[in-house]
Amino acid sequence: MKLSSKIAIVTGASRGIGREIALELAREGAKVAVNYAGSEAKANEVVDEIKSLGSEAFAVQCDVSNSESVSNMIKTVIDHFGRIDILVNNAGITKDNLLMRMKEDEWDAVINTNLKGVFLCTKAVSRQMMKQRSGRIINISSIVGTTGNPGQANYVAAKSGVIGLTKTTAKELASRGITVNAIAPGFITTEMTDELNAEIKEQMLANIPLATFGEPKDIAKVVNFLASEDSKYMTGQTLHVDGGMYM
């Protein structure tokens, strides 16, 4: 197992891609702090599943857009596991609307969770990782952060921001043995994408060279790679995992 006894935090890990990331890290031997904002029961299910895989886990509530909440979460994880090797910034929300109809609070909510949340969690763990002289930070961006997408000005701005933040954090922390990379998923089947109507889905499928939607596991496998020693000579990169949708 490539991540034996490594300690990981996955934000937004109660559902969707985050859930699969937490499980996949655990399958490689990592002990996982399963962060959730509201879905406590679902987070506990992920914890139970990780335990049944033979690894350790616990659920930790935190709104990643709140700095105090984030500090408490990181402290809780360090108290519990003693260190932090891997941070996966996955937590994200959508509040889609056309730019001309988008309300300021829709803009703020998405930027606060999807972009500021990455900054706050990264800042909070970087102290621990600097002391350790090692760490892996993996940010979940999105294909639309590179391509743009009508109806998602807030989401796209945040996901694009995550790519820039990834590069800067990578440069600042490289000398301390910490790598920072991003993954830009394409169309992955989750509750978030289930909301899209059939027509849009069909249109998207036509634009995917590999001619199928992705699964959360497709992202989780790449997270494992970025979390392991196998990726030790990579930092500041964005890996597009999208069936070839963006090239």
């Binding site: 102290r127 600097m130 002391k131 600042e172 000398s175 301390r176």
Partner: protein, 77 residues
């Protein structure tokens, strides 16, 4: 109170790999002791651990010289 200076000096010597003789109170971490911005952040973190205190980001930005660090710690303790 000389003890604070001694403990700060030890951390600076360990972290920045400089000679003890260079660690004077007026020495600037960046200009005289070869520290970069990240080294200073780390020094402050080590001082927090050594003296069991929290130094806010705002306060940390004011710590430029060895003497700044020593005086800050003395004032807080």
């Amino acid at each position: 109170m000389a003890e604070v200076l001694e403990r700060v000096t030890k951390i600076v010597v360990d972290r920045l790999g400089v000679d003890e003789a260079e660690v004077k109170e007026e020495a600037s971490f960046k200009d005289d002791l070869g520290a970069d911005s990240l080294d200073v952040v780390e020094l402050v973190m080590e001082l927090e651990d050594e003296f069991d205190m929290e130094i806010s980001d705002d306060d940390a930005e004011k710590i430029v010289t060895v003497g700044d660090a020593v005086n800050y710690i003395k004032a807080k303790n």
